[in-house]
């Protein structure tokens, strides 16, 4: 097989792909970088039904043992890749990033806990008491009341403290805010538990325990709070990983560990995860590829779903970029490491680097087992051991996932409903998030304005919104 690459520049890739499909001048296959552009499940159905994307089922059966094995072995994969009509129109980049899957973590200054002789908080009430102590008892010892008990930032879901704090009252995925109970979808911000959570968060804000900048500042400002010159200022921080708010090379970095999920007054204790689904596709074969072309392309995808294919594509060349693990190399799980990355000369200019693999591009199978099998520095509190620190932190969130979860990006929404639900989602999320901050900061009073807030959902067609997603959830089960 010979590959004729058709390139698109990074910033124009999505538009160029869409234009190619709209114009009919499309290639034999799409091979995408999913964080930049991907084939949504709606588009997979649309172009599959039109015959532009080939159904891959038979090709996989005939030529793709690695893909077959992945679909058999990975519990969520078959539902994730099979459209409601039974066809597979695309293949995902499977990336089971364990620590990334728990995006709503809370971190706390354990040096301050030690100085104030406080235990790691386990309940919402204990957490509040710790923040009060941080505010009032001068844990940084400079004689000034300059401590910031809790902060976050406004651009990433997990960096908003509401994501973590609300999870002690009701499951809160912070994205579409949809929960599932016995197969029925509901909107968390309309529930009485959400009201109680907002009351708690508002009480923290009213006492000056939440930094007002939390809801407006960007990651740069957040990181300056966590990495100041001189003594530490930040007590607790919401972030998917601690390098967001504290420089890894700073001595302060090792002072922050995660707060495990807090137990709320009614016993609720949840964490949201996006682990275990494939939201979109990185690869599709079009009807321009017939016969041997289609066979070659599915074999290409199948090779990339093998361990060797994924390893060489994402990590580079053996002996140059990575090597097999030795006796002293320990992987993230504490077992002998299968692979170890070889440090590269940081002085080499990007244009002079040896390009070998394709990076995280196209269909790949980065299972948790694969990702965890690389050697990592044993001390998690060193910069080189950061992956281990995140792994250990994430383990403290295991077991608190809701029994059922709905992830709208992964749902098989009917293409006929896609535009409508997308518009509804924009308006509903905007309403939820604006009110969330207003209630949390006290600019709206929860006791007097809650009913008006609930009535506001009716004009946003929330019933229709949930009905569309309910249909998608039901067909995807």
């Amino acid at each position: 097989m010979k590959i004729n690459w058709i390139y698109a520049n990074q910033d124009a890739a999505k538009a160029k792909r869409q234009l190619s499909l709209a114009s009919g001048d499309y290639p034999d296959a799409y091979f995408l970088v999913t964080w930049l552009d991907n084939i949504s499940k709606v588009d997979a159905q649309k172009y599959g039904k039109e015959g532009v994307f080939l159904p891959l089922n038979d090709l996989i059966q005939q030529y793709a043992p690695n893909i077959q094995k992945a679909i058999k072995d990975i519990p969520y994969l078959e539902n994730s890749v099979t459209a409601p009509d039974g066809n597979i129109y695309g293949l995902p980049l499977v990336s089971e990033c364990y620590h990334c899957s728990v995006y709503g973590k809370m971190w706390i200054n354990t040096d301050w806990l030690g100085k104030l002789k406080l235990n790691m908080p386990a309940t919402t009430e204990e957490y509040k008491q710790v923040l009060e102590a941080f505010k009032n008892n001068d844990p940084n010892g400079n004689g000034q009341k300059d401590e910031i008990p809790l902060s976050g930032e406004s651009t990433l879901v997990g960096d908003n403290p509401i994501q973590f704090l609300m999870s002690a009252f009701i499951p809160n995925n912070g994205k579409d805010y949809i929960n599932v109970d016995s197969g029925k979808l509901s909107l968390a911000p309309m529930q009485p538990e959400w009201k109680e959570g907002l009351k708690y968060i508002a009480s923290l804000f009213k006492e000056g325990l939440i930094d007002p900048g939390t809801f407006t500042q960007n990651p740069d400002a957040f990181k300056q709070l966590g990495t100041p010159q001189g003594v530490a200022k930040l007590g607790s921080a919401a972030a998917s990983h601690s390098a967001i708010f504290v420089d890894l090379n700073s001595d302060k970095s090792k002072d922050y560990d995660v707060v495990p999920p807090l137990k709320g007054p009614q016993g609720a204790q949840f964490t949201s995860t996006n682990y275990g689904n494939a939201n979109n596709f990185a690869f599709a074969i079009t009807n321009k590829a017939t016969g041997k072309k289609a066979e070659a392309l599915i074999k290409l995808a199948d090779y990339l779903y093998s361990e060797e294919g994924t390893l060489l594509s994402t990590k580079g060349k053996e002996g140059v970029h990575w090597k097999k693990g030795g006796a002293d190399d320990i992987d993230l799980t504490g077992q002998p490491a299968k692979y170890v990355m070889i440090p590269q000369d940081p002085q080499v200019k990007p244009e002079d680097k040896v390009h070998y693999g394709w990076g995280e591009r196209g269909p790949l199978l980065m299972t948790r087992e694969f990702r965890d099998s690389f050697g990592t520095a044993v001390d998690p509190w060193t910069p080189d051991g950061y992956e281990r620190r995140l792994y250990n932190a994430t383990r403290k969130y295991d077991g608190f996932e809701p029994k059922e979860q709905f992830i709208s990006e992964a749902a098989w929404v009917d293409p006929a409903d896609a535009e409508e639900v997308s518009l509804l989602r924009i308006n509903i999320n905007k309403y939820i998030e604006e009110n969330m901050v207003q209630f949390a900061t006290g600019s709206k009073d929860i006791n007097t304005e809650w009913d008006t807030y609930i009535n506001g959902f009716k004009t946003l067609q929330t019933d229709r919104y949930l009905a569309i997603y309910q249909k998608a959830y039901d067909v995807g089960k």
């Binding site: 097989m1 010979k2 590959i3 004729n4 690459w5 058709i6 390139y7 698109a8 520049n9 990074q10 890739a13 160029k16 792909r17 190619s20 499309y26 290639p27 034999d28 296959a29 799409y30 091979f31 995408l32 970088v33 930049l36 552009d37 321009k288 590829a289 016969g291 041997k292 072309k293 066979e295 070659a296 392309l297 074999k299 290409l300 199948d302 090779y303 990339l304 294919g309 060489l312 594509s313 060349k317 990007p350 244009e351 680097k353 390009h355 070998y356 693999g357 394709w358 591009r361 196209g362």
Partner: protein
């Protein structure tokens, strides 16, 4: 009758000449084992985003490995 037959024959010949012009001169065998109709490797056109420092994937060693392994 004779004239009519000559016209029909001429028309038939013209059609045959036209068809012959449209058909490749040499009939090619069905492709087997990853080869295209010429017996050479199948060429596939793949769309992908490219980053400033990616280099040309066509010249990439991994591309050649995948090309070799895929079919």
């Amino acid at each position: 009758m004779k004239k009519s037959s000559r016209i029909s024959l001429a028309v038939l010949l013209s059609v045959l000449v036209f068809i012959a012009g449209c058909v490749p001169a040499k009939s090619k065998p069905d492709n087997v084992s990853g080869n295209d109709a010429d017996g050479g490797p199948v060429t596939v056109n793949i769309f992908t985003p490219k980053f400033p420092n990616d280099g040309e994937y066509s010249e990439n060693e991994f591309t050649k490995l995948v090309e070799k392994n895929s079919i």
